[in-house]
């Protein structure tokens, strides 16, 4: 009996050493990045899809069960998941993934955030103290996050540190080449004025030199109202936008209405991996986003 137990323990220890790192990613973009850098050394679970608003998810039982077994949580941070992730982490009974430990990684903390509010007041809507959290749509940020993530994976799983560095190097090469390609392709987008549903694309428009001249939401997190839409239509006279942008998880009603009234195209951008058929991975996400923007201009 004792032998059997010791074999079982030995077996479990071996399995532990062989098994992939269990990663709990909150959003598809960071799940995809973890897969790029972790390769077959990680087993990634992604808590949300491109069709779910990551601000507003329930702390579902299935998320608790996944967090319980995770060795690394890859969160977006900057308060994006504040409505559900803190509860999931605390109730998981998993000491490894608590904030402050190696098992908790925040992507937005690795980059410079835009729109950091100087005054915090809910009269301004659901503003985030740490700035706009949707950092991934600037591909240069993705690279910075990737570098930090490779280091973190190496800390969580030191045996495979070399592999993570090699994967990062390979990814960086392809990614930088792609950035060059995207920037060339997106040259006609420079200076193009757009209206957005929510401030989801701040980093994309900033990177491509586009101008956000208005948002359908009167305040972040408050649903578009007829008053706001009418006011935006009036400002079309002085500062005409050429496109209306929304994510795959936002309702199409308000942007379609505005687009029809203003006589400009309403575009659904995939926003994250899985948001469109073409956005199968991070490369596809940017390929498709720029493609859609260029098509919208024609």
């Amino acid at each position: 009996m004792r032998k059997l137990i010791s074999f079982a323990v030995l077996g479990m220890v071996c399995l532990r050493a062989w098994a992939a790192v269990e990663v709990f990613a909150t959003v598809p973009e960071w799940g995809a990045l973890t897969r790029e850098i972790g390769g077959d050394k990680v087993n990634v679970y992604i808590a949300t899809t491109a069709f779910q608003d990551p601000h507003r998810i329930d702390a579902r039982p299935s998320l608790l069960a996944r967090a319980r077994r995770a060795q690394l949580v890859v969160a977006n941070g900057a308060e994006l998941e504040t409505g559900w992730l803190p509860v999931v982490l605390r109730e998981s009974g998993n000491a490894l993934i608590q904030p402050g430990h190696d098992g908790y990684f925040e992507a937005a903390a690795q980059v410079v955030r835009l729109d950091v509010p100087s005054v915090l007041d809910r009269a301004q809507g659901d503003v985030h103290a740490a700035g706009n959290p949707h950092v991934h749509l600037d591909p240069r940020n993705v690279l910075k996050v990737g570098q930090a993530l490779a280091q973190r994976l190496a800390r969580v799983d030191p045996d495979n540190a070399g592999i993570y560095q090699a994967n990062l190097a390979a990814f960086s090469g392809r990614w930088q080449a792609a950035i060059g390609r995207w920037e060339t392709a997106a040259a006609p987008l420079r200076g193009v004025a757009v209206v957005v549903h929510h401030q989801s694309f701040a980093y994309l428009t900033h990177w491509l030199g586009m101008q956000e001249v208005g948002a359908l939401e009167p305040k972040p997190g408050i649903e578009p109202s007829s008053g706001q839409l009418t006011a935006l239509l009036q400002s079309q006279q002085t500062r005409p936008a050429r496109l209306v942008l929304r994510t795959a998880y936002q309702q199409d009603g308000p942007s379609n209405w505005f687009a029809a009234k203003a006589g400009i195209p309403a575009l659904m951008l995939p926003f994250t991996v899985g948001g469109s058929a073409q956005a199968k991975d991070l490369f596809g996400l940017f390929d498709d986003s720029i493609d859609r923007l260029l098509k919208g201009l024609r």
């Binding site: 601000h55 039982p61 409505g83 559900w84 509860v87 109730e91 835009l114 103290a129 998880y249």
Partner: protein
């Protein structure tokens, strides 16, 4: 920008000089000028582009303020202040004027059927504010997290919750100590501001009084199994001072509870949780105000054991699993409570039948509620709830019954019921106003049509809610 005029000047000078030259020379000079012009224009364009880039760059730098979170300012101790949130709730309620409000067939918590120990406002007619909830929470250190919830009402502050929770045990183990809302049932851990209706289900009022939840001073241990389906087990031991138990001034364990939860997703759009809980506590001299056999005011005193089973089920649906625009929630709970011990009644008043003679007491009661809430736009929700209880037939030994008498509503055999409809509107996730209509038949012989208008506002760092 200066270069364009220079080019023009050169052009002018050259054009003057060529007047004397012959045609061939003229052509050569013209082509040279053309080249000169081209090269200048190219250089100007490139300079203009450069300038535009630097301008754009500096604009970017201005908006790229370094994020505060990454660079904590040294010496700013207030940064460690706990997260604070404040819940403001108030209501207007229209209902019948019933002298002794209670649930027929059920012993009221707190001894008599008014609002002692209950939430201010819920049983008040007209305008009122509910108690104001102040919540403070923060990580204590890398190992513990603490939270306190204070309920403030006129002339009193009640500690609703004050607990610490472990963060660093690992292996799925969670430890909580202090005063906390027990993990039994589904609704028990929710505070009134998270309820989908303006009041607690009848079942919770009958089980734990108007607070609609059972709070415990004690220790809770939970374990989450490392399975792909959520499987959680919990056990609690504590003082057991609250109804249905009483404070008994003992060293031992006053109340204990065990519970198990199971839950998962079905596809991307559906998720569910089911639970089973068992609570056991004891009462010594638990008071209930009665009118005795001679219709004189007295106190019935129960001593004995109270055992409760609860079963709960919650199912949520949202298209694509995105609850922001539309979602649906069904929830239902069932309980079965057995109490056994003895009862007697006492009275100081003249002519009372009560003399304190004790005899057997046995009750077996049950009840359930089911509710469905549909959010059909980002702002609007509508819901329906049905409550039903069964008082069972409470057995009181002949000796005690002779003194307590047959006429007390709380010992009657009755099946209370209530149907509620509600519509609410949320401007944002922090504010909500609700209209509720209820047809309340929880008191024998009375049909009470209740209309409630209620607002719930949360200020400050509002923490995440459980499933």
């Amino acid at each position: 920008m200066l270069k364009k005029p220079i080019a023009m000047a050169v052009l002018a000078v050259l054009s003057c000089a060529v007047q004397a030259a012959d045609d061939a020379d003229l052509a050569v000079i013209r082509s040279q000028i053309e080249e000169l012009k081209k090269s200048y224009e190219q250089r100007i364009a490139s300079l203009e582009e450069k300038l535009a880039r630097t301008q754009a760059g500096s604009a970017v730098n201005r908006s790229d303020k370094p994020a505060v979170a990454d660079q904590p300012v040294p010496g700013k101790a207030s940064g460690f202040n706990p997260e604070v949130s404040l819940i403001l709730q108030g209501r207007y309620k229209s209902m019948k004027d019933v002298a002794e409000r209670g649930i027929t067939g059920f012993v009221p918590a707190g001894g008599h059927a008014h609002e002692d120990g209950g939430i201010k406002g819920i049983s008040k007619r007209g305008f009122s504010v509910d108690h104001t909830e102040l919540m403070l929470s923060a990580n204590v250190d890398p190992y513990w997290r603490g939270q306190a919830i204070l309920a403030m009402a006129d002339g009193e502050v009640e500690v609703e919750e004050a607990w610490v929770q472990s963060l660093a045990i690992g292996h799925g183990v969670g430890l909580k100590a202090g005063r906390y809302l027990s993990g039994i049932g589904y609704l028990n851990e929710q505070h009134p501001h998270a309820w989908d209706f303006a009041d607690a289900p009848l079942m919770y009022s009958a089980l734990f009084g108007e607070h609609g939840s059972y709070a415990q001073d004690g220790v809770q241990l939970k374990w989450l199994a490392p399975t792909s389906m959520m499987l959680e087990f919990g056990a609690e031991v504590g003082r057991g001072a609250n109804f249905p138990g009483t404070d008994r001034n003992g060293n031992g364990i006053g109340a204990s509870a065990i519970f198990a939860h199971i839950g998962d997703d079905v596809g991307v759009a559906h998720s569910w949780r089911a639970g089973l809980s068992y609570q056991r506590t004891r009462a010594r001299g638990r008071e209930a105000e009665v009118h005795d056999a001679n219709d004189v005011h007295g106190e019935a005193l129960f001593s004995g054991e109270s055992k409760t089973w609860l079963a709960d089920f919650v199912w949520k649906w949202a298209p694509d699993g995105n609850p922001k625009y539309r979602n649906f929630k069904f929830q239902g709970e069932y309980f079965n409570r057995r109490e056994s011990g003895d009862i007697g009644c006492e009275s100081d008043e003249a002519g009372a039948a009560c003399s304190g003679v004790r005899d057997l007491y046995r009750s077996r009661q049950s009840g359930w509620y089911a509710q469905a809430v549909y959010q059909f736009t980002p702002n609007w929700r509508a819901g329906v709830r049905y409550d039903r209880l069964n008082s069972g037939s409470t057995k009181i030994g002949a000796n005690a019954l002779a003194e307590i008498g047959n006429e007390n509503a709380m010992f009657k055999d009755f099946r209370p019921s209530r149907a509620s409809l509600m519509v609410d509107y949320g401007w944002s996730e922090f504010s909500r106003v609700r209209l509720q209509y209820a047809r309340d038949r929880s008191m024998a012989g009375i049909t009470d049509n209740q209309v409630t208008v209620q607002y719930i506002m949360s200020l400050g760092a509002h923490g995440a809610h459980k499933f």
